[in-house]
């Protein structure tokens, strides 16, 4: 089992994607199928961008096991008031600044869901959000 951990800074768009990029390199070295790698890193990158766009700071932990890749993406931030609404395509509270970066289309959470096998959101308004994701590696 390989474990990777990263600290993510809220608001720092120039660094957003660094963690996902490192995870991608590791998954490639482990010879995981390209289409699975793409699913995993697209989901992780959207989650990483959500910390940068919506929270104050956060952490990412990725556990790569022979059968699956588990990702825990946790932040200290405003939390999500209505998860059902946040999961809808097109719903976004992103700032104008975030939109200028090419995000804030409200497609992140729905796209994360499409790319993984399991997704749990744990959120407390005023405290933070934690996203638990799992991708199985046995079915290509």
């Amino acid at each position: 089992m390989v474990t990777l951990k990263f600290n993510i800074e809220g608001g720092n768009f120039s660094k957003a994607g660094y963690a996902s990029s490192q995870v991608k390199k590791t998954l490639k070295q482990l010879n995981i199928h390209q289409s699975l790698i793409k699913n995993i890193v697209v989901a992780l990158y959207e989650a990483e961008v959500n910390i940068v766009a919506h929270a104050y700071k956060g952490t990412i932990q990725v556990d790569i096991a022979p059968t699956d890749v588990s990702m825990l993406v946790s932040d200290e931030g405003p939390g999500i008031e209505n998860i059902d609404l946040a999961m809808q395509e097109g719903f976004s509270t992103a700032s104008a600044e975030v939109r200028q970066m090419g995000f804030g289309a409200g497609m992140g959470l729905p796209n994360i869901k499409k790319n993984v096998d399991e997704m749990y959101i744990d959120t407390v308004v005023g405290k933070g959000t934690s996203l638990k994701l799992k991708k199985m590696l046995n079915n290509v």
Binding site: G17, S20, K24, K38, M101, G102, G106, M107, N111
Partner: protein, 113 residues
């Protein structure tokens, strides 16, 4: 279509990577990175006016090797560095998105959908 042909048609400047022998079948144009991340086609040209590190990171995650910046946007050193690390090509054209996409569609670059 050869990437070198694309460079000719939109009078692009190559600022990162190597275009030799690169073949592109399809194009996708968007300034919204989350849209780009929903595409599951490879070997595409990403045509965008979003000129920042996130455009390059998005392409990296989506396995897109070639990015064409439109409307005269210039790639910054961080973008070029990340592109080089990942063996990506960055092109710049002064043409608008509409003009760029129209020209490339006309010569047979295919849409993703």
């Amino acid at each position: 279509m050869e990437l070198s042909e694309i460079i000719d048609i939109v009078k692009a400047k190559l600022v990162a990577g190597n275009a030799n022998g690169v073949v592109i079948e399809k194009g996708f144009s968007s300034d919204l990175m989350s849209d780009v991340l929903t595409i599951d086609t490879e070997k595409i040209l990403l045509i965008t006016g979003t000129c920042n590190v996130q455009a390059i990171r998005t392409a990296e995650m989506a396995d897109i090797q070639c990015i064409l910046l439109v409307r005269g946007k210039k790639a910054n050193p961080d973008m070029i560095k990340i592109a080089n690390e990942n063996k990506m090509v960055i092109l710049e054209t002064s043409l608008s998105m509409f003009n760029t996409v129209g020209r490339l569609y006309q010569v047979g670059l295919k849409p993703v959908y």
